[in-house]
């Protein structure tokens, strides 16, 4: 069996999760405590991938990334980056697609913290950033863990978006879910089975570890 699709999948999920973790913390903080007028709009945009068919997202990202489009041309001219059918393009698409899975748990974790705790830190004389790093984030570790696991798992399970903007280039965009599809199309049921079983095992192990470590928090999120 060719392991490269599995490795590529894990690589994509890891990179995506790390990027998501970094960008989701400020977004979640803003959504949890901001009171801007455009907040409902941003909240809606973040949640859109939950309801949109992945193909819709993939379709528009494909158009945006194509060298003929304004964005695609700009990136190509200025940075020499071509996102369509590349690993970087996949990462960007996965970040958009899995955004709600990271933002929602962190946002609900942050808004569940008593405001008196943040007030206490402010009165002591700590900045917003120090308060976030030293008080807020350490006290929502379960939510952060939930976000990490859900985003990772969701990215592993991605298919539609990857198919639209990534295609099936080995070691570039041919992730496990695409590989299974290709093998089934080519009637190689044996190889498809192998990939599928590896994914099942992977999903089972990841979730099992989380439930063992911190099960009740995941439950709380899904309930």
């Amino acid at each position: 069996m060719d392991w490269s699709p599995i490795i590529l999948t894990l690589k994509l999920a890891t990179v995506t999760t790390l990027v998501l973790l970094v960008i989701s913390i400020p977004i979640s903080k803003w959504l949890a405590f901001g009171n801007s007028r455009i907040k409902p709009i941003i909240e809606t945009l973040v949640s859109m991938p939950l309801v949109l068919p992945p193909t819709v997202l993939g379709f528009y990202l494909l158009l945006a990334f194509s060298p003929d489009s304004f964005v695609g041309q700009l990136l190509d001219d200025w940075f020499g980056i071509r996102l369509a059918f590349s690993f970087t393009g996949l990462v960007i698409a996965s970040v958009v697609y899995s955004l709600p899975f990271m933002v929602h748990p962190i946002q609900s974790g942050l808004s569940g913290l008593p405001t008196s705790m943040m007030d206490a830190s402010r009165v002591i004389g700590k900045s917003y950033l120090t308060t976030l790093l030293k008080v807020e984030l350490p006290n929502i570790k379960p939510s952060i863990l939930t976000g990490i696991v859900l985003s990772f798992a969701h990215t592993v399970g991605e298919f539609g978006v990857v198919l639209m903007i990534g295609g099936s280039i080995p070691d570039q965009t041919r992730v496990a879910s695409i590989a299974i599809y290709d093998e089934v199309e080519a009637l190689n049921y044996g190889t498809a089975h192998q990939y599928a079983l590896v994914l099942i095992l992977l999903a089972f192990l990841v979730l099992l570890v989380v439930y063992l470590v911190n099960g009740r928090y995941i439950n709380r999120f899904w309930r």
């Binding site: 008593p114 008196s116 705790m117 007030d119 206490a120 830190s121 402010r122 009165v123 002591i124 004389g125 700590k126 030293k134 008080v135 350490p138 006290n139």
Partner: protein, 290 residues
Amino acid sequence: MIDIQISKSLDGPNGPMKLSINRQIESEQIVTIYGDSGAGKTSLLRVMAGLMTPDEGSIRVDNKVWLNTASSINLKPGSRSIGMVSQDFALFPNMTVRKNLEYALPKNQHGNAIDDLIRITELERLENRKPASLSGGQQQRVALARALVTRPRILLLDEPLSALDQSMRVKLQNHILDLQREFKLTIFLVSHEVGEIFKLSNQVMHLKNGLIKQYCTPLELFSHRHLSGKFQFTGEVAAIMAEDIVYILTVLIDNHLVKVIVDKTTAGRLQVGDKVLVASKAFNPIVKKI
């Protein structure tokens, strides 16, 4: 001297209201802020702490300007020399008792202050425990100690004892008095407990709908000045019983139940749980050496 002149529109529980405070307050004393919920007590504390900005006004503390909306001065909470303890103590669950205190330590200040505070608040044996494993009274002491790490001049206490049982309250009231003397603090205390107010405060600021209704001593506020009784105690009505033509009122004063005879009109105005002042002219007391 603390000079507060602020006004702020608030969305109170009974609709919009205006908090408008205009008062000079002597330093190094305990002032209780008293009033119904929604009167603006907590908002006043938050404005003083710098957590809430008033629409207009100024706050001066010992001739240092903390806030002046006219000249756009608004010191950050950390620059105001205040400590604050809220009703839920707001300890950081991820840190031990000592770490909670260390977190509050300003960068240029020495760590000795923390050892002193841990000793004064009798937290030596608990310093490596996490807040979740402490009792309410212990958490309260940690919160007090943490609020004092920065050596503030003003301490803001928002119903700090309301979550504790009676014996713990009494102990911590003494603690607060000791700390006030030791650190020469000006304390603003939000409290509803008449007994506590009598015990702790030099002055009471009675708020009603965002305005100061009265600013006086506890005695003046609760005895309404017209009683000339020599003995007076405040307590809570525990039971009211009709007995022939009189009523027997059982009042809980501190931890003692006292039976008092009252007439029908007085009894009619009272119900179980009411706070009452029991006073007597001391014309025939029994005095016994103990």
